[in-house]
Symmetry: C2
Subunit: 375 residues, 2 copies
């Protein structure tokens, strides 16, 4: 396929290497690997996970649960506290798979007890400092109260306590991430101990954010890891220090449509409807992505500062270094490593890869066996 | 329809009032109203424009041009400098409608001359200070050179000079916007005069950004207005002072899934994949939207500070005032006025409205005659 507009390209080998690395780290700690599929939202990439032994998944909406259920996934966590307005859809879904739901209040436990037609696993969402949803991790009284309510319900099984350490996206480097992981793990273990001490013996701990899970080397003491972004990584992970630039497995190929030598800028066709408006901050400047020359089948990223410093609906402006400026003309393609790969994938939806001889192809029909030798 | 997940709602009466207001302002100045359809990307809303006398449109991609061509639009400007990688698609499109294209370099003029199978209108994109694409508005030499190259081509018709004053989104209030409009108009008129003086007598001027076009009361001296966002408006327009809160014609109905009284916060199902990550700054805080109680068929917005202060893929966090906090419970709906309606529309795609008796309905089949009496 000729690339004529913004096109999401992945390096399947890097994707599967990222999957294997996380799968091995979880296996070593006897921890369940339940990857978050909201990052890729792709049937094909789901198959690659399956080939790496994954059987349980995380999604972020009921629609996404139904999407992966249709492809045979039978053990699904919907990692957002339940939305009472979707209780009918949730009931239907519960009958079709082993469903794991999240709650953070007694009324929602009562609602599930009243409405679920079959037994479902229920996780108590804990706020360990991110400040989004969840019961305050210091409020042991409420946590115990909810745990007991779930445990006493015939229709609900208490799965455990679950948190999303989203504050890791504000961390300052690897040490900070590592310290945050330990701190959250300690907090979750203390909550579990408290529940144990009160007669609730089967309480699992589920964690999930990519930054701290990539930095952590030992998942011991945790029962389940739900990370998602790690399969692709992005500029945000690189800037957080949670991965190397070479671990980035997704980029968007964008046509250059303007070259402005006096201001040392290139303009690409590729904007907020392709890359999202997410950004990282570098030297007090908002960076929407990093441009690289469009090249070979295997991504080989070079550290540089060809940053996307402006973005609008369909365009982005790249402040280009001398080399990129000199070597690029209107009509060329550039790779853009997006600031946030999850949102980019949600926008572009279709994945392509560069075949060494056939060029750009959709990942459709590409099986892990096709590139096993490269792994 | 029962609203169970983030749902884009418009007030059709407000939408058409916004259209009529801009149509009347352009008609008064004998200026062509060529609205930008990238904001709504909707066949139905296109029909409402048609009912208001609009026949020429602006789009931001070749795909969008084909989409509206299929619905009978015959006079289309693709308001992004041409992408040489799509030259074949552009050629096909040129045969099917009166196509208007943008260039900002001589090689692109030469490419069009070589490839266009029929005559196309060509606009010279001028950079009047935004710094995205376009020839520097002070570089009269290059502008004249390109104008002559277009004029001398048998296959190309010089339409005129076109600019997008995107820097208006950094303006400080209405006076600043008004001054910016006048300044850009003067600059464009001086360029036109220079081209006239050099024998190019048929040179139109096309402007387009919503903030300055909403503030401007007289389009005299301009040939064409391409504004798009004005049909819905959003929090950004309100904050820029280019419209009143009551002019906002789109909101997203979002279910409340969490209530955290101690931190005075509500969490809604509705995040970056519904609203985008665009924001406005208020008192140094990033605001992703403004929450309002979900109420009647006609939007009746009240000024408040129930801001979305945090957003992730599927959730947003609202810092709620006492009233909203007291009156809202998990399972309720809230309206969210997004920071940027164009990106929200691109993400949610489907439009609904609240029928006074039938409730939430898709705008499909809703004709302007159905709500004419309310206009």
């Amino acid at each position: 396929m000729k690339i004529s507009k913004p096109t999401m390209i992945i390096d399947p080998v890097k994707v599967v290497k990222n999957i294997k690395k996380m799968a091995e780290k979880t296996a070593k700690a006897h921890c369940l690997f339940r990857p978050h599929f909201k990052t890729h939202q792709s049937v094909e990439i789901g198959h690659w996970f399956r080939s790496c032994g994954v059987q349980a998944i995380t999604v972020s909406s009921i629609d996404m649960a139904n999407f992966f259920l249709a492809d045979g996934w039978q053990n699904i966590t919907v990692a957002i506290v339940i939305n009472p307005r979707q209780i009918e859809e949730i009931s239907v879904l519960a009958k079709k798979c082993r469903l794991n739901l999240l709650v953070d209040s007694l009324p929602m436990v009562a609602l599930l007890e009243k409405t679920m037609p079959v037994n479902v696993n229920v996780w108590i969402k804990i706020d360990t400092g991110y400040g989004r949803t969840g019961i305050d991790g210091n409020d042991w009284h409420s946590i115990l109260e909810i745990a007991k309510a779930i445990d006493q319900s015939a229709q609900l099984s208490l799965a455990g306590i679950l948190t999303h350490t989203g504050q890791s996206y504000s961390a300052k480097g690897r040490e900070d991430l590592s310290a945050l992981y330990d701190q959250v793990k300690d907090k979750m273990q203390m909550i579990r101990n408290h529940l144990h001490a009160n007669g609730l013996s089967e309480v699992k701990i589920s964690l999930g954010d990519t930054p701290s899970c990539q930095v952590c080397t030992d998942f011991s003491g945790i029962d389940e890891i739900r990370t998602g972004n790690f399969i692709f990584n992005d500029l945000m992970q690189v800037y957080l220090g949670s991965c190397d630039l070479q671990d980035v497995a997704m980029a968007v190929a964008c046509p250059v449509i303007g070259k402005y030598t006096s201001r040392k800028q290139l303009v690409i066709y590729g904007g907020a409807v392709h890359l999202s408006k997410d950004y990282v901050i570098s030297s007090a400047i908002k960076i929407y992505g990093l441009a690289q020359p469009f090249a070979q089948a295997k991504f080989d990223w070079r550290k540089n500062e060809n940053f996307l410093i402006g973005i609008s609906q369909e365009h982005s402006v790249i402040q280009a270094g001398e080399d990129l400026l000199a070597s690029t003309k209107v009509g060329d393609l550039l790779y853009v490593i997006p600031a946030h790969s999850c949102l980019t994938a949600d926008l572009l939806k279709k994945y392509y890869y560069i075949h060494p001889t056939l060029g750009c192809l959709p990942i459709h029909n590409l099986e892990i066996d096709d590139f096993k030798t490269a792994l």
